[in-house]
Symmetry: C2
Subunit: 345 residues, 2 copies
């Protein structure tokens, strides 16, 4: 029998459509998984083409012999926002606008054109995450910035236009309504029960077990109870932290292991689907609050949003979250390859 | 310079990315527009295959000689919800669920497999709309139902699985958070200004003019000021009405003209893009309120949602709404063909 489940963080309802339910195996991408070449001469993100990108903001030096860099950060050439402005708000009758201040960075994850996150050595994933934290902390203190989103698009269906593995960061002068609503719901929970709703949910999920994909000393990866789309996976820090900016070194290493394992599992289990991930963090002004909890959301793009979702805001999910969790748990992911020439550092 | 614009109904911000902006012409679908055949022997929605669908709920008899029906309604064979249940809510710790009660109808828009809405005679579009109203009013009084969404998916990118032109209706036992939030914002506006925020916005847009696509005696079609995606078009009734259930006969005929014109414009101007439309109405329990206003939202599917949108809830739109409105206004749409053999009725 189908059921409606309520997302405990947004109060949004999701239809789990068991009548049209698919076994997890049916969601495996049908197309042939293609492996791009490791180097593409015309790719602006490949080594040797550094001059094709805007001036570098930061780089993590290369660990491999001959490698100039492991990770590079620079402004997005096709930036959605302009970084050299003061945000100014205009209210004309009911038209409210802010000039387009904002920061839009590109983070090139690796010099290797073919190395998607699920195939990287864990230590390299940790480098990428260190880079995220670095930029996050640096930009958080800018008084013009209200909120920062770090995200990744992998594949055309996930909205990417460049194949070379990269992430992006957008720092915006406003807090989106989506973020605001999640925070308001979390405040209500705090006021009613005196606890972080996320901490509570993580504890409940661990005790129950059926939606857990992976649990490590510092993180818990799970399929949300009211997951809106098949195989959407949330990775929560066990320690209460409202802001991603507070992630500690040991936690970065552990998150690299968890993120790499989840993405390797999805890569192998679902045949390299297009996917997004995004870090959902409290705005910096709320970094210290007890009621909010950052997490990383991984979203394989296996289905299309249709008119019902657009019209009503309610999603129909055709894969039972418990079945998705079991499927992901049962995949065998090879151990992460040892970082190449790491001993040379 | 890019800018951030605030949606006045949801308070959501949208980035209008003028730096990466596209001229409207650049959004035209590149693939060859294919015209499907008028009849497909294996299509369960084509005439003669009525036995392949679940038992009919209603039909509008055919106007053309030999035509058995103009529009047919029956339960979705792959229904997301089950219609023969009493909705029952279960709260187990923080897991809230309702058994999957709901109604999921298919409305076959036309016997003609090739006749997408933008190519239909206006009188036939009116028939489809009459069917919507009929089912809407019929289901509204069911005490198990909280909210009804009527929508259409056209094309694979818009989430359709069957090519034959059809619409759908989903009646759900809950009001979605998205609908709730829009209503709460509208209530706040009412409490502050004593007016319907939609009525106010329509008047402002008509006075300003730059985002209007089409204005008729009963309806106004416009590009929203803070449109989240290129060419998203809202069609508002001029008369204050919270619920779609109150649409009058003359308004149905006018809406048929407006909807058909907008879809014909998009079909010709953008080369038959995949699209969705949906009717966003107040729930029946709020049918009489002064603060809410139903409308029909048309969403061409020209772009992909990426990690930033998923992670932050903020959309990036690369087409200026004013440019989109001008592009749509400047398309020449042939007059709707006369309904075939209408005189035979």
């Amino acid at each position: 029998m189908p059921e409606l489940r309520q997302n405990r963080f947004t109060k949004e309802w999701v239809i789990i459509a068991t009548e049209r339910a698919k076994r997890p195996e049916e969601m495996v991408v049908k197309r042939e998984a293609k492996t791009p070449p490791q180097f593409v001469a015309s790719c602006p993100f490949c080594p040797g083409n550094e001059h094709l990108t805007p001036p570098e903001i930061m780089r993590l030096p290369g660990g491999a012999p001959g490698g100039e860099w492991d990770v590079r950060v620079f402004p997005n050439k096709f930036s959605a926002l302009s970084r050299n402005l003061q945000p100014e708000r205009t209210v004309q009758r009911s038209h409210r606008r802010i000039n387009g201040f904002g920061i839009h960075d590109v983070i090139v994850d690796t010099p290797n054109h073919a190395l998607t996150t699920g195939l990287m050595p864990e230590e390299h994933v940790a480098q990428v995450l260190r880079c995220y934290k670095n930029r996050y902390v640096e930009l958080s203190v800018d008084p013009r910035i209200a909120h920062i989103t770090i995200f990744k698009n992998h594949g055309v269906d996930a909205g990417t236009s460049l194949e070379h593995p990269h992430s992006q960061l957008i720092a915006s002068p406003v807090i989106s309504t989506q973020v605001r609503q999640r925070m308001l719901e979390a405040i209500r929970h705090w006021d009613e029960f005196g606890e972080c709703v996320f901490c509570m949910a993580i504890a409940e999920e661990l005790a129950e077990g059926s939606r857990i994909v992976l649990a490590t000393p510092h993180f818990v990866a799970l399929e949300p109870y009211a997951s809106a789309t098949p195989f959407a996976t949330h990775i929560y820090p066990r320690r209460h932290m409202a802001s991603f900016g507070f992630i500690a070194d040991a936690e970065i290493e552990d998150l690299a292991h968890v993120l790499r394992t989840i993405l390797a599992t999805i890569y192998r289990g679902l045949n390299n689907p297009d996917f997004n991930y995004a870090i959902r963090t409290a705005p910096h002004e709320c970094a210290m609050v007890g009621y909010y909890h950052w997490y990383l959301s991984v979203i394989p793009r296996l289905t299309r949003v249709a008119g019902f979702e657009l019209g009503s805001g309610t999603f129909i999910n055709t894969v039972l979250p418990e079945a998705a969790a079991e499927f992901l748990r049962n995949q065998t992911v090879e151990a992460a390859p040892l970082p190449q020439s790491r001993s040379a550092i």
